[in-house]
Each structure stands twice: as structure tokens, then as C-alpha cells.
């Protein structure tokens, strides 16, 4: 597909692969990148040629990145991305036409860049949103260039080919939407009805998952399959608990009881320290962070469940989850998430009973929720 560039000239024959070649990236490295990203999408290796072929043809599609009620944590995650690096992403693969944290232009000139992309590439550009959108007070809780976040979201997300909500705030409102939600914060999907939105919750989102979604979109021309929370199944289809490297210790009844105790030093299960892995769907254990260096459980702290929609208002970080079924690989987020939400919200009596029952043993069928036991 040829496309006009910003000077109006046709860029015939231009492609990401060609550009990488011009910039000294070998074909071999290019294919290596394709393999990595294919693996991140949880696609079989046989798909690598398809991904490579698609990227061969693609021509730096425009991407705009909007920051609303955000902390820039997802932007920072992007800066740590390795496959590809942010340098490759920004210079070679995409045309990042608007991103307040990194762009050179400011003020009116920055605004002009955004308007130009929205107008010239209507329906063709990708939009990434970071941060929640405040609905109260006529939008006065969040403005850029004198315009409310809501107005900007409607304009920019509404005309995008697709919008990727990065992080829990853009996905579901996140921390700002926690009770009592002073500003009426919501996620993009709720604020802009009709927009095509994919959610990549997490605090922050894993940049590898963002890259994988972008490549998926470029390769297949559509967004990947989603669960009922709008999350791609390739990254959120499995429970942390089921992929956790410490799962054998859970099954064996070996738990950390105090921070720094022998079990903690030996890498035993963090369930009793409040780990939310049994109620959280995310690929952290396999994808890990910072080029696979680590992830929370590997570093000795339980999962907090940051990629779940009601995360901020469910349970305190260090209170152990009630009703954890022993085996539940066959469960998906739509079934098990509900069970946990109910459990965390109201079933502290069960929680107490369970503590008494558990005593470092494998859970019995009595302790399982109905959904979990099916």
C-alpha cells in the first residue's frame, strides 16, 4: 500500500523492512525481531513468515499517543521496550506524530501536528491512550491546549483505525476511578462509545504486549481476539497462578509466612502474603519485564492483580485471597474473575474459615468456589 507522506509525495516501494535495511539492520536481525514478536503474540513459529511479510509491506503507519489523567508510567514502559526498542519503534516502524512526553514541538505547533494527522489519515492512524478521562465538572479536571480530555478523546479516538488503551487507567479508569472517584474518571471505551478499543491493562502495561498488538494489527489488519474485558487473549488468556514458577510450592503447601523468612529466601509461594496471582489474568510470568529480567513474584513480592478491572477497589495488597481453587487451568477470566470479585467483596467469613482449614495443606474441594470447582 502506497501512501502520501506529509509533503504530498507518494512513497512508492517504501517499507519498514527496506528502511531497516538502509539503516544497517540485517535481514537476519529483522527476522529475529519477527520471531520474538510472534512469540509474544503467542502465535506458533509457523506464523513468523507471515509477520515478516506483513512488516515488509507496511509503511510507518502514523500513531498518536494521548496522555490524559496519567502518570506517564506506560510511556516509561515504552522507553524500556526492547523488541523493538523505542528507537526502532519511533524512527523505523511507526510515525509517532504526537506524544507530548517525547515530541520536540510544543504549544500550538504540537497541537497542529495532532490535527494534521487526524485530518490527513482519518480512519487510518493508530491511537494509544494513557490515563483515564474525567467526566465531571465539564471536563475541567483534565485539559490540554484548553480542550478537555473528553473532547480530545472523542475527536482523536473516534477517527482512529483503532485505539489501544495502555494501562489500567485508560482501560478501566484505574486509580483515579477508585472510590470515591472524585473526578468521575472512566476508561476510553466508556468515554468514547463507538470507538474501536483494545485494553492492555496493567500498572504499567507491559511494552512487549503493546508492541505485539501493533504488529498484530499491521500483520493481520485487525485487532487480536479479546476477552469480555476487552483484553487480548494472547496476553490475558491465562491466569498468573497457572503459569507461576512458584506454583509447585503452592501445590506442595510451601508458603512464605514472613518477609525474609527461610521460605521467602527459597522462593516459596507468596499466597499467604497476599498474592493475587490466583485471581489475575496476565502473561507476567512468561513475558516478564525489562527484557525478561524479572517480574513481581520472582523478586519476592506477590502479584497485586493490577490488570483486573476492579483492581483498585478490591482487596488490600497483603490480605490473602479467599477461596483459591487448587486447580483451575481450564478456567478463563470471564468465569473465575466473577467468582473472585464476589469472594473478595463479601466473603470474609469464608476467608476466616478457609484459614483455619488450610494449615499449609492443599485446598480441598470444600474450599473451592462453585465456579472454580466445575
Amino acid at each position: 500500500m502506497d501512501r502520501d507522506d506529509c509533503t504530498g509525495k507518494k512513497q512508492e516501494g517504501f517499507s519498514v523492512a527496506k528502511m531497516l535495511e538502509e539503516r544497517g539492520v540485517s535481514r537476519r536481525d529483522f527476522l529475529k525481531f519477527c520471531s520474538t514478536v510472534t512469540a509474544a503474540m503467542a502465535l506458533p513459529a509457523t506464523m513468523v513468515p507471515k509477520v515478516a511479510q506483513a512488516l515488509d509491506k507496511v509503511q510507518r503507519p502514523p500513531l498518536v499517543w494521548l496522555e490524559f489523567q496519567d502518570c506517564a508510567g506506560d510511556t516509561e514502559a515504552l522507553l524500556r521496550s526492547a523488541n523493538p526498542t523505542v528507537g526502532e519503534l519511533v524512527l523505523d516502524i511507526l510515525s509517532v506524530d504526537y506524544h507530548e512526553t517525547i515530541m520536540a514541538a510544543a504549544g500550538h505547533q504540537a497541537e497542529a501536528n495532532l490535527e494534521k494527522t487526524v485530518k490527513e489519515f482519518q480512519g487510518k492512524y493508530l491511537c494509544v491512550v494513557e490515563g483515564s478521562i474525567p467526566m465531571k465538572e465539564g471536563g475541567a479536571y483534565g485539559c490540554v491546549g484548553g480542550k478537555s480530555h473528553l473532547a480530545r478523546a472523542k475527536q482523536v479516538c473516534g477517527s482512529a483505525a483503532a485505539t489501544i488503551a495502555v494501562g489500567t487507567c485508560a482501560s478501566y479508569g484505574g486509580i483515579a476511578a477508585a472510590a470515591p472517584n472524585p473526578t468521575g474518571a472512566v476508561g476510553v471505551k466508556e468515554a468514547v462509545s463507538g470507538a474501536t478499543v483494545i485494553n492492555l491493562p496493567g500498572c504499567p502495561c507491559n511494552a512487549d504486549n503493546l508492541t505485539a498488538v501493533v504488529v498484530h494489527f499491521l500483520t493481520f489488519g485487525k485487532l487480536p481476539a479479546l476477552d469480555s474485558h476487552g483484553r487480548p487473549l494472547f496476553a490475558y488468556g491465562k491466569r498468573i497462578h497457572d503459569n507461576c514458577e512458584r506454583r509447585p510450592h503452592f501445590d506442595a503447601g510451601q508458603y512464605v509466612e514472613h518477609w525474609g523468612d527461610d521460605a521467602h529466601r527459597k522462593g516459596h509461594c507468596l499466597y499467604k502474603m497476599g498474592c493475587k496471582g490466583p485471581a489475575t489474568f496476565h502473561n507476567c510470568p512468561t513475558q516478564r519485564f525489562n527484557e525478561k529480567v524479572s517480574w513481581p513474584v520472582a523478586a519476592g513480592h506477590g502479584c497485586v492483580g493490577c490488570s483486573e478491572p476492579q483492581f483498585w477497589d478490591t482487596s488490600p495488597l497483603y490480605r490473602r485471597l479467599p477461596n483459591v481453587p487448587g486447580f483451575g487451568i481450564e478456567q478463563n477470566a470471564d468465569k473465575i474473575g466473577l467468582a473472585f470479585a464476589a469472594g473478595v467483596g463479601g466473603a470474609f467469613a469464608i476467608h476466616g474459615a478457609m484459614n483455619a482449614l488450610r494449615k499449609d495443606k492443599e485446598p480441598t474441594a470444600d474450599e473451592e468456589t462453585k465456579e472454580g470447582g466445575e
Binding site: 512526553t101 515530541m103 522462593g267
Partner: protein, 566 residues
């Protein structure tokens, strides 16, 4: 008189808007406004104080450790918890590398484009660029071949006609002074720093699972276990990786950042007389000794640029005004409240969006106006370095004298836009070196057989008093950060944070005193009002971080005891 608006101020964290009046090519008056509000402290009410670090960490994803540190310190202060030496040393290393990495990203990726014209780099001679680089550093990547490759990449990128994040900036502006070779050198290092930053911050992933937002802080210590005989704990393998990364960090600061800073600064010495600001400086001090608790960077205040006198800091003298901020105090306007007794209820009275201008005579920002002893204070690397310099701290004094000597200027040059930017480099150098000291201390302590990382005695809330209050201070990369907490019945009763960018981005107070950004802009020359590059220079020299600055609402509302300020 022409009034201009710069919104968004880009290359910062958060949402900042500057309105300025310009007359005869100079800024006569300026207003700093933050245009985003979340209200996180209000949300914190009634939650578990042990969770507060995780919530407040989300004030900001750029300075991603600082609120966690201040928060656990505040709770530990309230509950009188003393943490084990390993935990203190791990925190010091986390703080150190956060500051180093943050400053490099600021210099190259957020601030450099105010001084470096990337388009001019296309005209540079790579051979001359290499000799320029060789004259200031023996960094091995500074070869003519490398600079040529960077230039070729840049040409190919520009050749596509789509400049992405570099489109439509102030390229070619008359205020850019660097020769093409210096521009090419800086551009090459912009790209190199992008790679470097994601490497060195892996220290946070090793010690705390990930970055941004490491998940490892605990009230009472840290959650990364220590055990040389376990693959699931901080062992020799991980410690040596941290050492390698810290050395990599230090080398980059010594051989790339500092030489570049000095080279760029030498072309912009006129900026040592611009952007002075309020002239009052506050530092809370940092890096507690694991045994004595003594601070390596001293705490203190300097008033009216008087570097002969260091004032001891008294937390009772911190107050906040809302006369020009979108909040209301019960007793009405004109009063400043201490954070423990602070009250605030968000009340937006600005124009309905979309708007052209804010009503700057009235309320115009979501940032409050903090004051120390009734005075606006600048915080950040410059304040930290000045306080250490005046206190006579050896390492700081040597580093400051080295930089001033190489630039051929006196200490007075520090009170400026350029001084602020130079101080950040000095700060990075000091922290890069000091982090290695803490790593060696950590290794020595582990070698003694001390594997403790957490003080467990008060982990269970049943061990807590019915009521407690405390505060936690931290010298974050951007300056003095304070969290104040009140705990009642094992829950958060009140939580307040006054953060570096609240100090620096402050609007006017009841007396009409300008905040530091506003003061620093007055007198700044603006060659082309439709391309206010000079405003970006001075504002960026503070390294604004606005999501941090705006979140301040007290958790208890009307139940608070009000303090009377006469």
C-alpha cells in the same frame, strides 16, 4: 502587551500550561498552571497504610520510586519502625540509580532539543565531530565512523518526509547557537542514551521486579530476599550484575553526560544570567547511613541567594496556600495551612473548556502554593547541590568546583537556567559514584551473614497504636518531597503530599508572590513570540513533573482541626 500561551508544554511529565506577557522581546509576567487533577489522597482515605506506597507510586511513572520511598518512610516514622541495614542500602541503591537514569533522560530526551538543533546535524562533518568529541572525552563510541552512521540514519529518516516526534519544532530558531558538529555529537548521544537508560535501570528489575513502578517496597523494609545460597534471592550473581550496571552508569555520566553538558553550556553562557527565579532553596537531604541514619546529602535551606548561611529545616514551617488554586479553605482565602492540618476541597472556578486564556487574576491552577516560612522555595538538583556546597560536603564541593572551573564562571552563575541544568549533571555524577559505595556496603553486610530485609514486629496492624502520625521526606530527582500521614484504627485517616513540582510549579500565594517557574520566566528574552523556545529552556531546566504536583486533597475534609495563621 502581547499575552502568549504555551499549552501543552511538551517533553515533561504531566500537563503544564504557561501564560506569559511579553513586551519588547522580554517576558514581563508569567503564570504557571497545571490542568489535570485526580484527587488520589482523597481516594486513600480509609485504606491500609501499608498499601499507601503502591497508591502514591502512581502519582508519577517517571520518578517511579520516589513516592513509594516517601510513603514507607512516613508510615515507618508514624509507627516508629527501624528498618534493617540491608533494606536501607537496597533503598539507597534504588534511589541512586533512579536519580542517575532520570537525569540522563531529562538532559538528552526532554531538555536537549531546547539547545540542540537536530536538523543542523545533517550539515556536520563527521571527522570534525570526532575530533571535537575526542577533545572532551575518551568515550570509545565517539568515532568518525559512528558519527557518520548516525548522520546517515538521520538523513534516511528525514528523507522519508515523515519526521514523527521531531516534526514542526523550532528548528532553525535564531536562539540555537551550537555548530553543526556539536549538534551531531549530541544527536548521537541522544540515541545512545536511549539504549543506555533501559539497560542501567534493570537494577530496579533485579531489586524490585520491574521498572517503571518497581514492586518491592514494604513498610518495614524491602521484599527482595537476600541469600547468597538461593537462586530466588539477591545472591552473588545478581549483585555482580548490579555492579556491572552501576559501573556502566557511572562511565556514561563521566564520559558522555558531563562532557556534553560542559560542551553545550560553553556555547550558552548568556543563560547563566537568565532564569534566576525566587532565589530561595530547600533540600530535605538524602541517603541515610544504614547504621547512624545520618544523611549523605545534607538538609537545609538557603534564602535570597545567600550562600554564606545555611538554615536548618523545620517541617512546621511548611504551609500551603490556595488563593490562586482551584480549591477552597473553610476559613476563606488568605491562609496557609500546615500539611498535617491542611484542608482542601477541589472547586473549579476557571473558564469552561474549551478556553483561550485562564483568568490569571483569580484562580488558575490545580497546583497549590506551598511556602516555607512564608517564602516560595525552589527545590531540585540545584537546591540540593547548593545546600551541600554551603554545608561544605566534600564530594559535592569538589564536583561543583570542577564544573564551575571548566566553564570559567563563579558560583553566582548557578542561580540561572544554565546553573539549574549544570547542577543536574553534577547531581547525577555524585549519585552514580555514591551508589557504588552503597553496593559495596551491602555486599559487605551480606558477607557478615546478615540476611535481614524486613522488620517484622509491626507488620501486623494489631501491633499498632490506635492513633499515630508521621512524615517521610525524600530528596527525589526533582527535589524535596514530603508525605504526611495520620493513622487511626489501623487505617489512613489523613494523607498529604507536597512534592517537588508543587514547590516549583506553584502559582501565586495570598500575598501575590510568584512561584519559582513564574519568577524564573520574568526577564527571559523571547526572540520570536510565536516560537517561544526560550520559555521551554527555562521551564525545562526545572524538569517539571506535573502529575506528581497535583493530587493534593486532604482525606478528611471537614473533620480537620483548622490551624489559625495570624
Amino acid at each position: 502587551m502581547a499575552k502568549i500561551v504555551v499549552d501543552p508544554i511538551t517533553r515533561i511529565e504531566g500537563h503544564l500550561r504557561i501564560e506569559a506577557e511579553i513586551e519588547g522581546g522580554t517576558i514581563k509576567d508569567a503564570w504557571s498552571s497545571s490542568t489535570m487533577f485526580r484527587g488520589i489522597e482523597k481516594i486513600l482515605k480509609g485504606r491500609d497504610p501499608r498499601d499507601a506506597w503502591y497508591w502514591t507510586q502512581r502519582f508519577c511513572g517517571v520518578c517511579t520510586t520516589v513516592h513509594s520511598i516517601a510513603s514507607i518512610r512516613a508510615v515507618e516514622d508514624a509507627l516508629k519502625i527501624k528498618i534493617p541495614p540491608n533494606a536501607q542500602l537496597i533503598r539507597n541503591i534504588i534511589i541512586g540509580i533512579q536519580g542517575v537514569q532520570d537525569h540522563v533522560i531529562h538532559f538528552y530526551h526532554l531538555h536537549a532539543l531546547d539547545w540542540v538543533d537536530i536538523t543542523s546535524a545533517l550539515k556536520a562533518d563527521p571527522v570534525k565531530t570526532a575530533s571535537l568529541a575526542a577533545s572532551i572525552s575518551d568515550w570509545p563510541n565517539n568515532s568518525a565512523t559512528h558519527f557518520k552512521a548516525v548522520q546517515e540514519k538521520l538523513k534516511a529518516f528525514v528523507g522519508t518526509g515523515r519526521l514523527g516526534p521531531f516534526a514542526n519544532a523550532y528548528w532553525g530558531h535564531p536562539a540555537y547557537k551550537l555548530p553543526p558538529e556539536a549538534n551531531l555529537m549530541a544527536t548521537a548521544h541522544y540515541l545512545e542514551a536511549l539504549e543506555w537508560q533501559k539497560e542501567v535501570i534493570k537494577i530496579h528489575a533485579i531489586l524490585g521486579s520491574k521498572n517503571p513502578h518497581p514492586q518491592t517496597f514494604l513498610v518495614g523494609g524491602m521484599s527482595i530476599p537476600v541469600d547468597p545460597d538461593s537462586q530466588n534471592a539477591l545472591n552473588a550473581d545478581k549483585l555482580i550484575t548490579i555492579k556491572r550496571l552501576l559501573v556502566k552508569a557511572k562511565e556514561f555520566i563521566e564520559k558522555v553526560y558531563i562532557p556534553d553538558l560542559l560542551a553545550v553550556a560553553s556555547f550558552y553562557k548568556d543563560w547563566a544570567a537568565i532564569g534566576g527565579g525566587v532565589g530561595n532553596f530547600l533540600s530535605y537531604g538524602e541517603f541515610p547511613d544504614p547504621v547512624t541514619g545520618n544523611l549523605w546529602f545534607p538538609a537545609g535551606a538557603i534564602m535570597n541567594k545567600d550562600i554564606t548561611k545555611l538554615i536548618a529545616v523545620d517541617q512546621q514551617k511548611v504551609t500551603e496556600y490556595v488563593d490562586h488554586s482551584w480549591y477552597e479553605y473553610q476559613e476563606g482565602p488568605g491562609k496557609g495551612l500546615h500539611p498535617w492540618k491542611g484542608e482542601s476541597e477541589a472547586k473549579y472556578t476557571g473558564p469552561k473548556p474549551p478556553y483561550e486564556f485562564l483568568d490569571t487574576d483569580k484562580k488558575y491552577s490545580w497546583v497549590k502554593a506551598p511556602r516555607y516560612d512564608e517564602a516560595p522555595m525552589e527545590v531540585g538538583p540545584l537546591a540540593r547541590i547548593l545546600v551541600a556546597y554551603v554545608a561544605g560536603q566534600k564530594e559535592s564541593k569538589e564536583a561543583v568546583d570542577m564544573v564551575l572551573g571548566k566553564l570559567g564562571v563563579g558560583p553566582a552563575a548557578l542561580f540561572s537556567t544554565l546553573g539549574r541544568t549544570a547542577a543536574r549533571g553534577i547531581d547525577a555524577l555524585l549519585m552514580a559514584r555514591q551508589s557504588l559505595v552503597y553496593l559495596d556496603q551491602l555486599i559487605a553486610n551480606i558477607a557478615k551473614g546478615d540476611f535481614r530485609i524486613h522488620a517484622n514486629e509491626k507488620w501486623d496492624p494489631k501491633e499498632w497504636p490506635a492513633e499515630a502520625s508521621g512524615y517521610g521526606w525524600h530528596e527525589a530527582p526533582r527535589g524535596a518531597l514530603g508525605h504526611w500521614i495520620k493513622i487511626k484504627d489501623q487505617k489512613i485517616y489523613n494523607y498529604q503530599a507536597i512534592v517537588p513540582s508543587t514547590w516549583n510549579a506553584s502559582p501565586r500565594d495570598a500575598k501575590g508572590q510568584r512561584g519559582p517557574y513564574e519568577s524564573a520566566l520574568v526577564g527571559t528574552p523571547v526572540a520570536k513570540p510565536d516560537q517561544p523556545l526560550e520559555i521551554l529552556r527555562t521551564i525545562h531546566s526545572f524538569d517539571p513533573c506535573l502529575a506528581c504536583a497535583v493530587h493534593v486533597t486532604d482525606a478528611t475534609g471537614n473533620e480537620l482541626v483548622r490551624v489559625k495563621v495570624s
